[in-house]
């Protein structure tokens, strides 16, 4: 894979970031992240993909200063991550919302407003707006102990948004959200993008990533194995799927499909689905019209982000 070109004016720049952890009771080191280099331009939604243990959360922890890199550097808006002020324009939503349970939603968001360098009065005004933005205004006086996981996740999102951050770092933000909540989150991310915010999104939900991300980076075993636009990462498949109806199995058709390098699979409805190269589509249709079945549907095939992800991490 070619190394991404680093843009010094980018919202987020990572250069050669590496993290080793000592393995307990062994004189060995585990490589959690290996020489990660990438940059995220302002106003983009960047999807950070990888299986469990790939190093996504380790990367986020280093960006936020929770842990120190073994080697390498990173900058947020030109400020090195060791500078506390580098997080001035950053909003963070962790995978699990961690807040003192005795605080109400409003108190939590307001406290985070003050921690985001807002004055007490400004934080109070913006807390209401942030809770409205995540559809939790009616629960503002509820203690977090009484809120569901999804609602607490919204509190985390409101707490991240209250400081009007330019960069949002979201670690599995849709975990705990129901389908409606996920749809709302997707819409909110698009809305934030139109406001010019940069979003660094780590998620397992690849279908969601494909629909919202401008760029994606795929991490496997601590190494960046692909980085670019989703359309650049998925491989073009010069293939069509032809669904037909047949009274009985047809050996002639099966032989032709095999000769063309295609394959036959069963569709969900139980009818045969013929996967053949696009160049053989006319010949296949002619064959079907000669009495080898009835044509139901023709669909061009393309690799999904999920297919690409599985290909890259396997």
């Amino acid at each position: 894979m070619t190394q991404p070109v680093l843009n010094k004016d980018a919202a987020l720049v990572i250069k050669g970031l590496t993290k080793h952890y000592p393995i307990p009771k062994q004189r060995a080191l585990r490589v959690a992240l290996n020489d990660l280099t990438l940059s995220v331009d302002g106003g983009q939604i960047f999807g950070f993909l990888g299986p469990n243990g790939a190093g996504k959360t380790t990367t986020i922890k280093m960006l936020l200063g929770f842990i120190r890199p073994t080697s390498g550097d990173a900058w947020l808006f030109g400020k090195h991550i060791t500078d506390d002020n580098s997080r001035e324009k950053v909003g963070y939503v962790p995978e699990q919302p961690y807040f003192p349970k005795f605080l109400t939603a409003l108190e939590t968001v307001r406290a985070h407003g003050v921690l985001s360098n807002l004055s007490g009065r400004e934080a109070a005004i913006r807390a209401d707006k942030a809770l409205e933005q995540v559809n939790l205004f009616d629960f503002r006086y509820s203690p977090l102990s009484k809120l569901s996981k999804g609602q607490t996740q919204r509190v985390a999102l409101a707490s991240a948004l209250i400081g009007d951050p330019t960069l949002l770092i979201l670690d599995e933000p849709s975990s705990g959200l129901d389908p409606v909540g996920r749809k709302e989150l997707r819409d909110l991310l698009q809305q934030l993008k139109t406001q010019g915010k940069t979003i660094f999104l780590s998620s397992h939900l690849l279908s969601e990533m494909e629909s919202v991300c401008d760029q994606v980076g795929v991490l496997a075993l601590g190494k960046l194995v692909a980085c670019g636009r989703p359309s650049e990462i998925v491989q073009a498949r010069d293939q069509v799927a032809v669904e037909i109806e047949q009274a009985k199995q047809d050996d002639v058709l099966a032989k032709h499909v095999a000769d063309w390098g295609g394959e036959i699979e069963q569709s969900s409805a139980g009818s045969p689905r013929l996967l053949v190269p696009s160049a053989r589509l006319d010949a296949l249709i002619n064959l079907i019209q000669q009495g080898h079945g009835r044509l139901l549907a023709v669909t061009p095939q393309r690799e999904t982000l999920e297919d690409a992800f599985l290909r890259l991490v396997s």
Partner: protein, 258 residues
Amino acid sequence: MNTLRHISVIAHITMIEGARKQIFHVLMLFALFLIAVSTMLAVFDHNVQIKIVTDLCSVAIMLSSGIIAITLNSSGTTQEVESKTIYPVLAKPVSRWQFVVGKYLGTLGTVTIGMLIMMAAFAAILQCTQGSINAKIFLVMPYLLLEAAILGAVSQFFSTFSSPPLAWFMTIVIFLIANFKFGLSSYLNAPTHDVVSRFAGLVLYQALPNLECFDFKDSLVHGLTVPTGYLISTAVYGIVYTCCVLSISSAIFARKEL
């Protein structure tokens, strides 16, 4: 300005959290029980009774506030790391030292709340037994608080690199040693020890807090005069020692992997 805001919001949340903890309620009840029990010593002569009540109450307040400060500080920071509630806070432009100081001041706020309640109970008991209250007695409160502040800072220092039970135990040991510092000095400087041992003893002696210098509290409680210069120097010592310990704790915590 932002620094003060960060510290105050962390301290505020910590103070509420501390005041909600069961250990705080238990220790408060224990102290109030001791203060109430002291009135049952009516078998003694009136003057003796007042002295016993005053001694018992001041010891109850000192012990309870000290143990509250040690207990809350020994677990506070570690608990935040273990429950991961520290992540959303440090993801903001908040320095690690601001977090340490905020947690510490919040705990001190909880101790102050407890101390105010205990002092109110003490004042009520004095009013009942004596018929009047000598306002000079309340001069002791800042020094009791300062003593608790030192113990809290030491406890937080240990909690930055050890488990809460170990931090609690080590602070209690230091509390006991620090109350007999003069005796320790005499022992360490004994001519039978070699130069290295004496030097190590001198370092240890200087590093340990000197809680013996707070012993004038009894004099204050009983209305005796304590030189103002001594009161000021003790206060300065307590504040400077606490600041030094907090600085070391912050430096250690800043290097900690979370």
